[in-house]
């Protein structure tokens, strides 16, 4: 009989400066199975990814790929196809070019690249991976979900890969696209590949997984068949504590005072959006990725230009289009793309916290270094940010802690309206709850909040009202206490009967 265990990690230990990333971890991965890895940020998932792909060599332990000791024979790593979380395609090249890059692997030995030939040969692969784009389309022009699928296709196509590792593949996918991805994963299973599926979304794991391994603080805390466990148990294993799924975080008391009134706002990729935001309220924006939710928020914030429409802030007419003015007026926008829009990666935690506030902290020209440190320290303490030191470059913090830095520094300016764009994207369950609690605390203190989220459960937990957005237009408004999650889902999919 053929050996089913195509990939074996044996007693892996990996130490980074200051932290033990993996402690004596052993995992077996079998052919034709979807093996899910779960764990909070910093639990060691990405270290496993690096070890499986040969980017890092374990300090102790063995990696067997198809029976070969991969540390000794590096060629074995070629059997592992890794699909990273972030898109890293060549945006201005065609779908087919991306699929076959580097061209040598396409089987063509020729020095010249024949586009027509490439396009023709791409078609069967695109079909297999449920990609509807044409081979000659420019990658930047196709949808994010298609790009994600293309990335998976590219990783698998020409390598003799037996093992496919998907790192949070659904982060930026809408509901329908997740289903499409799952179909692709089923195909992979049929081809007898071992699929390693890393995700924070626990429901997905129970839909697609066969086996599950839970990591916590670099240690393997549990491994079982998916049918032998349940959501509650896995969450507890991940966080080491019980989490009540039915908890809600929306503020109970809301004043009638309206702080923001938007009327027929039009802009890039959306039109005729009107809504009101009350003081101390959490308002949710629901919609698929690309529906225009972020664009609406960024336009109100002044980052994108508005085409037309009226906005009243605190009952006074407000002219859009200037970020600095918005900040001064008490509006804060926390971007979805933390790395590219939220943090200064190579600056320290301290600098990241104090930057927007320098004017208040210091005089016009010189620094009051002590005061700066004090303020940064307060923020780190108040928001429970885990960092070895204030001077650590922020890029070395986990996603949840980076998000807390961003929230903490925004609070320093005492904002009145905060727009959270996907506040828990790429953040693990435990840290998510902390962020929900934080939002509720802010709302209870009279801050008005707009939350944009692709996770409907998240909106149901946190928002008083939810506005559904479909193809750049507002569809309906829901009171979360009086509506069901299904109604909103229909609405954001454009299936709603009573389109307003």
């Amino acid at each position: 009989m053929e050996n089913q265990k195509v990939l074996v990690l044996e007693n892996i230990t990996k130490v980074y400066p200051g932290v033990v990333a993996l402690k004596n971890v052993s995992i077996d991965f079998e052919k034709g199975k979807v093996h899910c890895l779960m764990g909070e940020n910093g639990a060691g998932k990405s270290t496993i990814a690096r070890i499986l792909t040969g980017l890092r060599i374990p300090d102790e332990g063995k990696v067997y790929i198809d029976g070969v000791d991969a540390v000794k024979d590096k060629r074995a790593y070629q059997k592992v196809a890794y699909v990273p979380q972030e898109l890293d395609l060549f945006g201005s090249m065609t779908v087919a070019e991306n699929l076959f890059m580097p061209f040598g692997k396409s089987g063509s030995k020729s020095m010249f690249v024949n586009n027509r030939d490439l396009n023709k040969r791409a078609i069967p692969f695109l079909e297999k991976f449920q990609i509807t784009a044409n081979p000659s389309d420019i990658v930047e022009d196709i949808s994010v979900s298609e790009q994600q699928l293309l990335q998976i296709a590219r990783a698998i196509v020409f390598q003799e890969s037996e093992i496919v590792m998907l790192d949070e593949p659904t982060t930026s996918l809408g509901l329908q696209d997740v289903e499409r991805l799952f179909k692709v994963i089923h195909e992979l299973k049929k081809d007898n590949k071992a699929v390693i599926f890393v995700s924070h979304k626990i429901e997905e794991i129970f839909t697609i997984g066969d086996e599950i391994t839970v990591l916590s603080n670099g240690e393997k805390v549990a491994h079982s068949k998916i049918e032998d466990t349940n959501i509650q148990q896995v969450m507890q294993q991940m966080t080491g504590r019980d989490i009540d799924l039915t908890l809600t975080f929306y503020p109970e008391k809301i004043s009638d005072e309206i702080v923001l009134e938007v009327e027929n706002l039009c802009g890039e990729r959306f039109a005729d959006v009107s809504f009101k935001l009350r003081k101390g309220e959490i308002l949710g924006f629901a919609g698929l990725v690309g529906a225009g939710r972020s664009e609406i928020a960024q336009t109100i914030y002044g980052y994108l230009a508005a085409a037309k429409g009226k906005v009243k802030l605190y009952n006074r007419n407000y002219r859009l289009g200037n970020v600095s003015k918005s900040v001064k007026s008490g509006i804060v926008y926390l971007p979805e793309e933390r790395r590219s829009q939220g943090i200064f990666s190579i600056l320290s935690v301290k600098e990241n916290i104090t930057l927007p506030l320098l004017k208040q902290i210091i005089g016009e020209f010189t620094f009051a270094a002590k005061k700066e440190t004090t303020i940064a320290n307060q923020v780190v303490k108040e928001y429970d940010i885990k960092t070895p030191s204030l001077n650590k470059e922020i890029q070395f913090l986990s996603g949840g802690n980076q998000q807390k830095v961003i929230i903490g520094r925004s609070m320093l300016g005492k904002p009145k309206i905060i727009i959270f764009d996907e506040p828990t994207k790429g953040i693990d369950v435990g840290a998510k709850l902390e962020i929900y609690k934080l939002m509720k605390k802010l709302a209870d203190n009279g801050v008005s909040i707009i939350v944009i989220s692709s996770e409907l459960e998240e909106l149901f937990k946190c928002a008083n009202r939810v506005i559904s957005i479909y193809k750049g237009r507002k569809v309906e408004e829901f009171e979360t206490s009086e509506s069901g999650i299904k109604d909103i889902m229909h609405s954001i999919l454009g299936l709603s009967k009573n389109k307003s």
Binding site: V15, S324, Y333, S340, G342, F344, L347, K359, F367
Partner: protein, 331 residues
Amino acid sequence: MGEPSKAKSIFNAIRKNKMTNIFLVFLFLIIIASIFSPYFMTAYNIRSQAREFAFLGIVALGQACILLLGEIDLTVGTTSALCGVIAGIFMVRTNFNPFIIFILILILGAFIGFINGALVTGLRLNSLVVTIGMVGILNGVNLTITKGQAVLNIPESIYFLGKGSLGPLPMPFVIMIVVLVVVMIIVKLTRLGRYMYAIGNNRETAKILGLPVTPVRIFAFSFAGMLYALAGLIMIARLGTAQPSIGSEWALNSIAAGVIGGISLVGGIGNPLGAIIGVAIIIVIQNIIVLFGVSPYLQTAVSGIVVVAAISFDSITNMVSQRKKRLTKLD
């Protein structure tokens, strides 16, 4: 903790500092030069080198501010030359107090920088492309005004800025030190400076946070332009004539100095003091080439080789130290 540990931590900080390597290269070059050439350590040579140092130093500090933002400025020497000849013409042909002209020309330099900055920010153009174009324009204006001829009879009242000394130090060198202090204060101590690092690191984040991105970028170009004009002015004070062709090598040398000194070309990383050490290395190399009697035809090649070697040295020591770090973690 006692004194020794503090001394040790300071020592460690020095060892880890990026500029230390580059400074060691500088010391090494000085030792080589002193051993092999009896003229190198003479007071005359050092003073004249310090004067050379000053010009490239001043413009390199301007360039450093721009590199920190992740931009690049090729108008360095051309701005200096144009400002120099315009200053010369006004000083010779009008009765204005030369020092008032001096101030006006500094403003002119800042204005040229402002145009660069406005084009880069307003039209979202690439600074490399904009400044390539500007070099052509400034040069054209320069040659049209001067027809390639030097402006003679610069008033002697400003000579002290170029030819004078303060104690043992040549005046241009003193001015450069003042500029260095000013730049260091701006970059390291002020809000503006912190914004510069932030914008160089991630312009999108800076925009979303509502930092004054455009004003800071325009400021950097204008401030640099002013420093280029300053270098041009001191140059005419030193030569006693306004030459239309000064500073032809400053653009590339100022960028090289910044890179040698550890300023990242993608922005956000580095220290203007590093650029000054970079300038020192370039000046010493050029001096060595002359003192050792290298054929003038080979001079640019030799100085190119040494620049590449200096950058490689820094990169290699980095790789070695990182590797060492990894190995020590294994036990």
